[in-house]
């Protein structure tokens, strides 16, 4: 019999708060975490909005701890600490050889890389800080969690741009399902709001223009007046557990991860195709043994770029066919921005809590419909008292890797 994998703990650092409940409450209230930046390099930016996490390392770690970790690792470790506490997981008594960590990140220790370059190229320094490599390397955010809890199960970092943490969670689920581990800490972390990274994104011409009246309303997924994505930062870590393992210790279960599908467009490095996205969506449905009509909510990738939102809508229409119009879809990126390698992980927190509370978060800033985006996007106001048994979360990425996860309210 197939081993079932359940979520028993959640932890988050986000532009909408640093606890899962606060994050979800803000989503349901339709609040935006996007704001005007206050950095010292703002005058050199064309794009002056972003979704920062209110996170001060000194509040959570000793100086000795935080000085050896990039912001991306501080995020991931703090999210992991929360998730472990939430799951009431006794880290001393668990089998550490059967507990692993899978994390997604796009840019890894971007702050440390950039700080090093600034010292070298701008300030003319001859040496870099001894911790530079260890803070900048892409797997640091994942390995810091393994180190903190002395876990000797698999510790792997996934980097597939915007779908990184969906892949990390899906592959972690398979580790447990296939019997290699019993517990996995899985999610993603991203801290890329540096001058150099933002300039690189500007050059790609995919960033949203600042809304003239309200900077917080600049990200407008699926709307006719959408202008692009808003960069964000944060992390989320989920505790995934073999269902029998969770049951035996009386753990609270948020949801089952019942399906995972991943596929590559194989067409273009930035332009998505509905066909490629549909392969990932179908893969997740087949994996869960579900039909499109079983899905009661889709947390969309919904970046608010012209291309993504058109393509994702078409992909949902392809797979869901006559059931597409009755399936509510929302993009919570309208509120928390695009967290890149952490995006899918924070959206899994949103989806898990939507299932638990039976409230669907809205797509805010959707006032002018786009004729090519014609699904039910839960515009502007959360939908309460719903009856959703299975929910889907989509992630698509530059490079073409799409990953789709399905959560089920009850283990089925």
């Amino acid at each position: 019999m197939k081993r079932r994998v359940v979520i028993t703990g959640l932890g988050i650092v986000s532009p909408l708060g640093n606890t899962p409940q606060l994050f979800f409450d803000n989503l349901i209230a339709g609040k935006s975490g996007i704001r005007r930046m206050t950095t010292d390099f703002i005058d050199k930016l064309d794009t002056k909005i972003a979704a920062y996490a209110d996170f001060i390392a000194q509040d959570h770690f000793t100086r000795h701890q935080y000085s050896g970790m990039d912001r991306v690792s501080q995020f991931s470790l703090y999210a992991a600490q929360q998730a472990i506490a939430d799951a009431k997981l006794d880290m001393e008594s668990i089998d550490k050889t059967r507990t692993g960590v899978y994390l997604g990140t796009g840019m890894g220790g971007a702050n440390s890389i950039e700080e090093g370059y600034v010292r070298l190229y701008r300030d003319g320094a001859e040496r870099l800080k001894p911790f530079t490599v260890l803070m900048a390397m892409n797997n640091a955010a994942c390995s810091q969690i393994g180190l903190e809890y002395k876990l000797s199960g698999p510790n792997l970092t996934f980097s597939t741009a915007c779908s990184s943490s969906a892949v990390a969670i899906g592959e972690a689920m398979r580790q447990i399902r296939h019997g290699y581990t019993d517990v996995m800490l899985a999610g993603g972390s991203e801290a890329l709001l540096t001058f150099g990274t933002i300039k690189a994104w500007e050059a790609l011409r995919t960033l949203a223009k600042e809304d003239a009246n309200d900077p917080g309303a600049s990200c407008k997924p699926f709307a006719a007046d959408r202008t692009g994505l808003v960069l964000g930062e944060g992390a989320a870590v989920l505790i995934l557990e073999d269902f029998e393992h969770a049951k035996a210790r009386g753990a609270h279960i948020y949801a089952e991860i019942s399906g995972y599908g991943t596929a590559n467009d194989g067409v273009h490095i930035t332009s998505p195709t509905p066909e490629g996205q549909a392969v990932a969506i179908r893969g997740a449905l087949n994996d869960a043994g579900l039909k499109p009509q079983d899905i009661g909510y889709i947390n969309a990738h919904g970046t608010a770029t012209m291309m993504n939102d058109n393509s994702e809508t078409a992909a949902i229409r392809q797979v869901f066919a006559e059931f597409a119009d009755q399936t509510p879809v929302s993009s919570t990126k309208s509120m928390h921005g695009h967290l890149m390698g952490a995006a899918a992980a924070v959206e899994m927190v949103a989806t898990a809590l939507a299932l638990k509370h039976q409230i669907l978060p809205p797509t805010i800033n959707l006032h002018i419909p786009d004729e090519k985006c014609d699904l039910d996007y839960i515009p502007n106001v959360a939908r309460k008292n719903v009856s959703v048994t299975h929910a889907m979360s989509n992630s698509f990425a530059f490079g073409g890797t799409g990953a789709v996860l399905i959560l089920s309210k009850e283990v089925h």
Binding site: T62, R63, H64, S67, R127, P130
Partner: protein, 81 residues
């Protein structure tokens, strides 16, 4: 206590977030809780503090006094009065 020793002790105390009074010249760096990477970090901070350059192979130190001695010898070598 020399000025160099005072500054080195303060760098270590800051890193460990402890009272500088607990850092003695004879204190062993490992026993204070500093691993090899932390020691490199202290050396890096000392380079900034004293405007010296510590050669990459010259890190054979065990105590706080060793770090101060290393710094003193490099200061006199690299900034002769």
């Amino acid at each position: 206590m020399t000025d160099t020793l005072k500054i080195i002790s303060q760098l270590i105390a800051d890193k460990l977030e402890v009272d500088v009074e607990t850092i003695k010249p004879e204190s062993n760096l490992t026993e204070l809780g500093l691993d090899s990477l932390d020691t490199f970090d202290i050396i890096f901070s000392a380079e900034d503090a004293f405007n010296i350059k510590v050669p990459n192979d010259k890190v054979d130190i065990a105590t706080v006094q060793d770090v101060a001695n290393l710094a003193d010898s490099l200061i006199s070598e690299q900034h002769p009065k």
